[in-house]
């Protein structure tokens, strides 16, 4: 079932057509400092598959995000996640859950180029049934001819439960190194290092995942895909995650 959905999404990528320019993301797990040009719109589809938890052999999860991005100015980009939803299968049950809607803003402080580091600041608020999250991110980008390096540091605060009484913090460092053999294609490697702070008074395990990435763009659409493999040994976290992003510019 899971693999059929995944194959269907991949097939859809090669069928859809649309006029205009693509503003692609080369790394599904790491944000870049490039923002859309003023007046541009883009639809972005996220599909994330998580599997292989040591503490639950039947765990499989699909996460979907439907997102609209808008270039307010050449430096400011707003995005609306109009639905984040999941299909989660565990040894106890299988259920489909609507998670949240969200608003995201990215402000490009400095344009990335061969002369200077790209810098952008990112803020996001998510709200859903019994769920609220605030997220802040600093994005750095270095461009060296055909090679790019991305670094994101992210801080998240979450409130969950009936009265949003369960709190949690999260710190994430993510890195990406990509090579662009031609302007329409990149491949590379990404790494994500996460740490949770339950109730803000205890420290969770370090979870580190690493994996390859591939992206393709043409004049009207783009996609990027990356599997991440957990290299730490945290039983409650998936050993394999695959994320596919697909965008169409209007």
């Amino acid at each position: 079932m899971s693999y059929k959905i995944f194959l269907s999404v991949l097939c859809a990528l090669f069928i859809v057509q649309s006029p205009c320019i693509a503003t692609s993301r080369t790394s599904p797990w790491v944000y870049h400092s490039r923002t859309m040009m003023e007046g541009e719109f883009e639809y972005e589809q996220w599909v994330t598959f998580k599997t292989d938890k040591k503490n639950d052999s039947e765990y499989n999860e699909w996460r979907f995000r439907h997102e609209l991005e808008w270039g307010v100015t050449d430096r400011l980009q707003l995005a609306l996640y109009f639905a984040d939803w999941r299909i989660k299968q565990t040894s106890e049950q299988e259920k489909i859950t609507f998670r949240d809607v969200a608003l995201e803003a990215v402000y490009q402080v400095q344009t990335p180029s061969i002369d200077q580091v790209g810098i952008a600041m990112y803020g996001e608020i998510k709200y859903g049934p019994e769920f609220l999250e605030l997220e802040g991110k600093c994005i750095l980008e270095w461009e060296f001819e055909q090679v790019s390096v991305l670094y994101n540091v992210t801080v998240e605060a979450e409130w969950e439960g009936d009265d949003l009484s369960e709190t949690k913090g999260k710190l994430e460092n993510s890195f990406s190194l990509t090579y662009q053999p031609e302007p329409s294609m990149t491949w590379g490697v990404q790494a994500v290092w996460e740490k949770e702070f339950p109730e803000w008074n205890s420290i969770g395990n370090d979870v580190v995942s690493i994996g390859p990435s591939f992206s393709w763009q043409n004049s009207n659409w783009w996609f990027s895909i990356s599997p991440l493999f957990q290299i730490t040994d945290v039983d409650s976290e998936p050993d394999l995650q695959v994320r596919l992003l697909f965008g169409i510019d209007f």
Binding site: T23, T111, I114, F144, V147, V149, A191, W193, D206
Partner: protein
Amino acid sequence: MKRILLTLMASISIIGCMDSISVAPKIAELGTVSNAMQLERGRAVYITSCSRCHNAIRITSITKSEWDGILPEMIEESELTISDSMAVTEYIQAVLNASASAAAQPSKSE
């Protein structure tokens, strides 16, 4: 964990040492030019507008005839103004000319 961080830092350091200047040479590297301000503007357009969608490519890695086909397409996709289009076209032309002159010099001395 430390190994991962060290590997990443080493990678960034190595990449940082790579030659990125000749991707889009600065105007001073082009020799004597009469329209330096226009070329400065063209270089700025080249390195920032290209980077909106992809890394700026080394100008001399593409021949003049290939640029003649690619540049109009990129100008249209980047939605450049007429003056920015002229500036970036002049800059690319100047880089290609400077590269051709430099390549021709050793053969003159022989």
